[in-house]
Subunit: 144 residues, 2 copies
């Protein structure tokens, strides 16, 4: 039996997801990359702290499903840029609570707005129903 030739690479879900993710990330990257010299992981950490409040590296790990070495380096970089500070915990001296500085907060809010409007412009490509289904499908795949 021969291989049927009806399966195009573009229809392969992991491939299609990657192409779309790359295109979307690349476009948004410009916002934080050239304006603030941030890397994607740094932006994510910044976002987490800005959006959900101070937390520890491990908590970001869990929320963002990023590896702890990535977090560690991103935190270091953000610290250098004076976007966050570490606060030693007295209850457990291994842990440091991470907290945006005033400046970090300002950058966060700017990027937050940029993210919102970028998301809106992407979402505008679709009907509300499509957008809703897209979001739901992506969540589901991410959780698999």
């Amino acid at each position: 039996m021969e291989t049927p030739d009806d399966f195009d690479l573009r229809d392969f879900l992991p491939y299609a997801l990657n192409q779309a993710a790359e295109a979307a990330s690349l476009a948004f990257q410009k916002q934080y990359r050239v304006r603030y010299g941030m890397l994607r992981t740094e932006w994510r950490v910044l976002f987490h702290l800005g959006r959900y409040g101070p937390m520890t590296a491990t908590q970001i790990c869990a929320r963002a499903s990023l590896h702890k070495t990535k977090i560690s380096r991103a935190v270091h970089a953000l610290e250098q840029k004076r976007y966050l500070t570490r606060m030693a915990q007295e209850t457990d001296r291994r842990v440091e609570e991470l907290c945006l500085t005033r400046q970090g907060g300002i950058v966060y809010r700017e990027l937050y707005e940029a993210a919102r409007s970028y998301d809106a412009s992407l979402s505008a490509q679709f009907t509300p129903q499509e957008r809703e289904i897209l979001g739901r499908c992506l969540h589901k795949i991410a959780r698999l």
Copy 2:
């Protein structure tokens, strides 16, 4: 005016796309990574040659929207593994037509089947309508 707090990171399309793409890729990666020691780019090049027939590196570039250095390295690696051969063109000696070997073809067909069945298992998570919309949205975003 305060920043409205209704925009979750998980709803940010580039983020959701990345999370989903990573989850989907990671799972399928095992197929080619551990079984054949291939990288993602290598698998893509292999797929292109197997699915669409012999072609040059530049043609793969265009089809796969991969950078030529990635292709170059992937081709080299696949050559080392004896999965493809290069055929110098007489009309233009800069160009080499890339062609799967018999072994390369066998690996391709195995991975092709693995991809099909993986895709099917992912797609089974959704209704046909959802799957259709998902695919269409992803294509659209990738082309932006």
